[in-house]
């Protein structure tokens, strides 16, 4: 067997690839993140808000972009594509084509001088072609890496040999027209494919008249809504007016067998609802209408979001699929003709704008990549995986995640991505840490006893700052400020030679504090901090004064005032830096074991994934047997028996030497925090672990009181499956009723799995006896994603579908079911039946509150556990070191539970794999002498970092026991809320101390520069 290589190639730099890369890099594996465009970020970077919480997409994504770009174990290969893969699992050689960017990334500072001079205008992909960019460009403001790329196809110099402007204006000589594409070979142990999807191109569906300027795709509409979009967030029609009525047409390029795209794209119903809601937030007069077949609001919080749009915001949901968009030949007015549900009539309605909710299609580049990798694809062009191994491709060592395998939303993609990382990590566990490089720095200089000696670099940023701010005047002023030893002007403070110069200046002037006045700390602080460390200074003795984004760029017409403001900003920064303290992280030993609660398919997968990586793992199940919810069903959607996947899994769990299984046991007590949990089991066993995963699952609801449940011939889907397995279904007329006890006031959520389960069982009933009559009574059919094929198959087999509404439910009597069919003009039917099958929702089991209490983690109003962030942290709790997976988070299908379970294991192992836990330097600490033990810090801390501890106070007169707050440095995240709340000033929020912030406020006030000594 070839030698294992502790590195992974991740193809695709969207949110999936980024998440896989971060998990693996945190676990001590080297990662090459390969992205074909000039920046990582993918489609999520183009979205305005995300459903169902309407969070700003860029706000949640951009910290991940920055993290990926800074991670010492991640090498970004942007503008690059995989050309060839050879080798076997554990040792692949991957040939990567690095496309020529014609810009030297080491020299380019993204100063944008070239942008102004480039004469070639190109449709801007980031704004979905609705605005123009230059041939030399940064794809979007938050792009990572922050370097320019020349689009060779549109560059005048490269195509015609003319122009050359960018090279002329570039002051860093970064432009290199001679640059060529080149191949680079990388050696990795595993490959993850995560190149995502392509939005469906609606041009081929001529009936929708996409060529009309006011017929836009949903992605274009996303850009229209975005405040960084082409019209800064104002939705406009082609004539410049604001639309009053907008319609969304669902399933454009989805659920359409005629064009070879029969499946559901899984995300469009919700993004359309989101877009309608956000558009109405922008313009309260706006009327929004969503034309749909079924509203597929199946995920966590989706149904409630849909109800809110419909009932509170007034979005109309019309259940009809207009056959096309009509355009008035004279006025160009858009209108839609549609069938009115519940009648035979057709209506025609005018709209100002029509949004086509385009589906997710496999991209050509993904297909090409699949061919290069040699992995199997399904008939639709998705990478083929199975229910029990949803991230595993047909080639060992090559994994897939995200929409490359099937359409899915962001949280499912993120879970998949962590899951794929877990699989890659498992085969390379022995190689952790072998290929990562630790940066070394010179010994740090002790400055604690020294007076501040401050150096200030004022950056011109080419002309970005210097064309507005009078930099020489600023430098002259700064040189007069207290403690400033040396201030100087620099054309580009961030260029490599300037950074070297800063190091020289630190040594030459014996500086112990540095201020760089240039751009935003959000992108450049780590770079300059690193420079300080290279010169022997603690990185926290540095401050960035932002005189570009916050000054020269926003006051271009007021150079005098901008110059005064720049002086103020730097004066405030100097006052701050003078009082900054060196900060240090603390390294702590910890327990490298895992704990999993719940022995269902999610819990067992999670436990196996941790144990496979070499960590001891405890798996606790309160029932006497492993298997969980899946054990109560008999078949999977692909026709296999559930025991086909459960039996080998149970055997693997029982035989893994790293795994201890405790069945018929509960976890009764937990204390401690990440890295040092201690627990006590019901049998008295005491265990220790560093990280925990909650996978306590869900149960099928007993639908007492619904549709005659309890009578002999009224059963649930799980009971039907058992009967089908026994061959004891003695019925020719079977009625299934969906949402039996779900989507109502008691359980307002959609249970996600029931429609797919009903289709699976309807097909089984028909296949067992084609003469049977099967009726499915439903509200919406939510066979999302690829499971649409089961719905199609059921219809082909002759299963009959009738739609009911919540306010007019079917009535089950002895031997009959009566329904008013909404599909057939409210016709009332009485169906003779000998078996009624209720699709009851999954509900959280007893005891979730107890588990929640043990780990101090939240549950939502439906008693499912509440993750840290519904989009980007789907398996994390806000509490460090505790994760969740499977139906404990919300109802989900088996493959989704397995993906989440591997994801939770990956997240847990990225902690367990560390040698020591490192605390942050920017945290809060308590001065015990000042603390009065009031506990207000505990009330405001979002993480439970402070704790009141009993201490013995000994004075000369008296010895007594009192309570004092203590902040756990391993838990604190440094937000500083406790310091603001503390009534006695006992808490110091390091790096943002009251003294430091007060000094900045005082420096603001003393505009003449006569700063009084604050210290």
């Amino acid at each position: 067997m070839a030698e294992l290589v502790g590195a992974v190639a991740v193809a695709g730099g969207g949110i999936a690839g980024i998440q896989s890369a971060l998990d693996l890099a945190d676990s001590g594996l080297k990662v090459y993140l390969i992205e074909s465009t000039p920046s990582i970020g993918g489609v999520m970077a183009q979205l305005d808000k995300t459903f169902p919480t309407l969070d700003c997409s860029m706000c949640t994504l951009s910290p991940k972009l920055a993290e990926a770009s800074r991670h010492p174990n991640i090498e970004l290969l942007t503008y690059s594509e995989i050309k060839e893969i050879s080798g076997t699992a554990g040792n692949f050689e991957v040939t990567v084509t690095r496309k020529a960017t014609f810009v030297d990334p080491d020299k380019c500072t993204a100063c944008e001088l070239c942008l102004a001079k480039c004469p070639s205008k190109v449709l801007d992909e980031y704004n979905a072609g609705m605005s123009k960019r230059k041939a030399i460009y940064l794809p979007f403001p938050q792009a990572v890496p922050r370097v320019m790329t020349i689009d060779a196809e549109h560059c005048l110099y490269l195509t015609k040999g003319k122009c050359g402007n960018c090279k002329k204006v570039c002051e860093n000589d970064a432009i290199d027209y001679e640059m060529k594409d080149r191949d680079e070979a990388i050696n990795v142990g595993s490959v993850i494919l995560s190149t995502g999807f392509t939005p469906f191109d609606p041009t081929e569906l001529e009936q929708y008249h996409y060529e009309h300027p006011d017929v836009v795709t949903s992605l274009e509409f996303e850009r229209l809504l975005s405040s960084s979009g082409p019209y800064v967030g104002h939705v406009k029609m082609a004539n410049g007016e604001t639309p009053k009525k907008i319609a969304w047409l669902q399933c454009i390029g989805s659920r359409n067998p005629e064009i070879g795209r029969p499946n559901c794209s899984a995300v469009c119903c919700m993004y359309a609802t989101k877009e309608a809601m956000v558009a109405m937030e922008h313009d309260s007069e706006l009327e929004t209408t969503i034309f749909n077949i079924d509203v597929r609001a199946f995920g966590k919080g989706f149904e409630q979001f849909y109800q809110r749009a419909k009932n509170e915001k007034g979005t109309r949901f019309i259940r009809s699929r207009p056959s096309g968009v009509d355009i008035d030949p004279v006025t160009n007015q858009l209108s839609l003709r549609y069938e009115v549900e519940g009648s035979t009539e057709t209506a025609c309605e005018e709209f100002d704008m029509v949004v086509l909710s385009i589906g997710l299609t496999p991209s050509e580049s993904s297909k090409k990549l699949a061919e290069i990798a040699g992995v199997s694809m399904d008939e639709y062009g998705n990478i083929a995986t199975t229910i029990d191994a949803p991230m595993t491709t047909s080639v060992p060592g090559i994994f897939a995640c995200g929409t490359i395998a099937a359409p899915k939303d962001i949280p499912d993609t993120v879970a998949d991505a962590s899951g794929a990382a877990s699989k890659a990590h498992s085969i390379l566990a022995s190689e952790r840490g072998t290929l990562v490089t630790e940066r070394t720095y010179p010994p740090e200089k002790d400055v604690t006893e020294e007076e501040p000696r401050i150096g200030v670099v004022v950056c011109d940023c080419g002309i970005n700052i210097a064309s507005v701010v009078d930099v020489p005047a600023v430098v002259e002023y700064v040189n007069t400020l207290p403690h400033v030893v040396h201030a100087y002007e620099q054309t580009y403070a961030c260029s490599t030679d300037s950074l070297d110069h800063i190091k020289d200046v630190i040594k030459e002037h014996n500086l112990n504090r540095v201020v760089v006045a240039s751009c935003t700390p959000r992108t450049h602080e780590p770079l300059f901090q690193d420079t300080c460390r290279d010169a022997g200074l603690n990185p926290y003795l540095f401050e960035l004064a932002n005189i570009r984004e916050h000054c020269s760029w926003v006051h271009q017409q007021e150079p005098d005032r901008a110059t005064e403001k720049a002086k103020d900003i730097i004066r405030m920064s100097v006052a701050r830096v003078a009082l900054l303290d060196p900060l240090y992280t603390q390294k702590l030993d910890f327990n490298h074991g895992g704990l999993v609660i719940g022995g269902g398919v999610a819990g067992m997968t999670a436990a196996l994934d941790i144990a496979e990586k070499g960590f001891t793992t405890h798996l606790i199940e309160r029932e006497p047997e492993l298997g969980g919810l899946l054990g109560t069903f008999t078949r999977l959607q692909d026709g296999r028996t559930t025991s086909e996947i459960l039996d080998p899994m149970i055997a693997a769990v029982k035989s893994n030497p790293n795994l201890s299984v405790y069945t018929g046991t509960t976890l009764d007590e937990v204390e401690g925090a990440m890295g040092r949990f201690k627990g006590k089991l019901s049998d008295g066993t005491e265990i220790e672990f560093g990280s925990a995963i909650i996978a306590t699952g869900a149960n099928e609801f007993e639908p007492e009181g619904y549709f005659g449940y309890g009578s002999d011939n009224v059963i649930t889907q799980s009971a039907l499956e058992v009967k089908l397995d026994e061959g004891t279904v003695d019925a020719t007329n079977v009625v299934m009723i969906q949402c039996a006890g779900g989507r109502n006031d008691e359980r307002p959520y959609c249970s996600r799995v029931c429609c797919t389960t009903a289709m699976k069982n309807a097909i089984r009933l028909k296949e067992e006896d084609p003469e049977r009559n099967i009726y499915v009574l439903y509200r919406d059919i939510r066979t999302y994603g690829v499971w649409e094929e089961l719905y199609t198959r059921a219809r082909e087999l002759g299963v009959l579908f009738m739609r009911y509404t919540e306010d007019d439910e079917p009535v089950v009597a002895d031997g009959t079911v009566t329904i008013t069919d909404k599909l057939l003009n409210d016709t009332k039917f009485e169906i003779a039946t000998d078996l009624v099958v209720l699709s009851a929702p999954l509900v959280a089991p007893d005891g979730v509150e107890d588990t929640a209490m043990l780990f101090k983690v939240p549950v939502d109003s439906n008693r499912f556990f509440l993750e840290a962030h519904i989009k980007l942290r789907p398996v994390d709790f806000a509490t460090d070191g505790v994760f969740l997976a499977g139906c404990s988070q919300a109802p989900k299908l088996v493959d989704e539970s397995i993906s989440q379970a591997s994801a939770a294991a990956s997240r847990a192992c990225s902690i367990l794999a560390k040698e020591q836990l490192e605390t942050s330097g920017v945290i809060s600490v308590v001065d015990e002498d000042v603390c009065i033990g009031c506990g207000r810090c505990i009330e405001v801390c979002p993480y439970g970092a402070p704790e009141l501890k009993e201490v013995e106070v000994v004075t000369e007169e008296i010895t007594y026991i009192t309570r004092k707050s203590e902040i756990d440095p391993a838990i604190c995240k440094g937000c500083g809320s406790c310091a603001a709340e503390c009534p006695t000033g006992a808490i110091t929020s390091r790096h943002f101390t009251t003294k430091q912030i007060s000094a900045v406020i005082d420096a603001f006030a003393f505009a003449d520069g006569s700063i009084e000594e604050v210290a």
Partner: protein
């Protein structure tokens, strides 16, 4: 006499409103020069005494910004900010400083909102005139 130019202290949280200010810059959205930003990790770090100090030091107004509720990088830090600022804004009414302290949520993608927030607050303070606490 030259028009009154207010001096305003602005607090921004690192994750949302400071990023929103950066985005306004990237978009070259022009706004008045009167504000001076103090960056904190979370708006919940801003203790009421900072605002009092800024006013005492001669600021004509204090603008506090943070992530929208639900977007907080620290889960719900901004909920505490909201509570504290309600109290501060209320106290200002009783101190004859009404309208000089304002709280606004600005996300990392809201460059235009950042510009508008600053522009409107500067207008508001201009209308109020110099702070009575300002030493002339």
């Amino acid at each position: 006499m030259a028009e009154f130019e207010p001096r305003i202290v602005m607090f921004c949280c690192n994750w949302c409103s400071y990023a929103g200010a950066d985005l306004a810059g990237v978009g070259r959205l022009q706004y008045p020069t009167n504000t001076r930003v103090i960056r904190v990790m979370c708006s919940s770090r801003i203790q009421p005494t900072f605002i009092l100090q800024a006013l005492k030091d001669g600021a004509d107004g204090v603008l506090v910004t943070g992530c929208h509720i639900g977007d907080c990088h620290y889960i719900d830090g901004n909920v505490h900010t909201e509570e504290r600022m309600e109290n501060v804004v209320d106290a200002m009414k009783h101190l004859g400083l009404e309208g000089r302290v304002h709280l606004e949520w600005v996300s990392a993608s809201e460059g235009p909102k950042f510009r508008d927030t600053v522009t409107e607050f500067v207008e508001q303070i201009k209308a109020l005139g110099p702070s009575p606490l300002r030493a002339e």
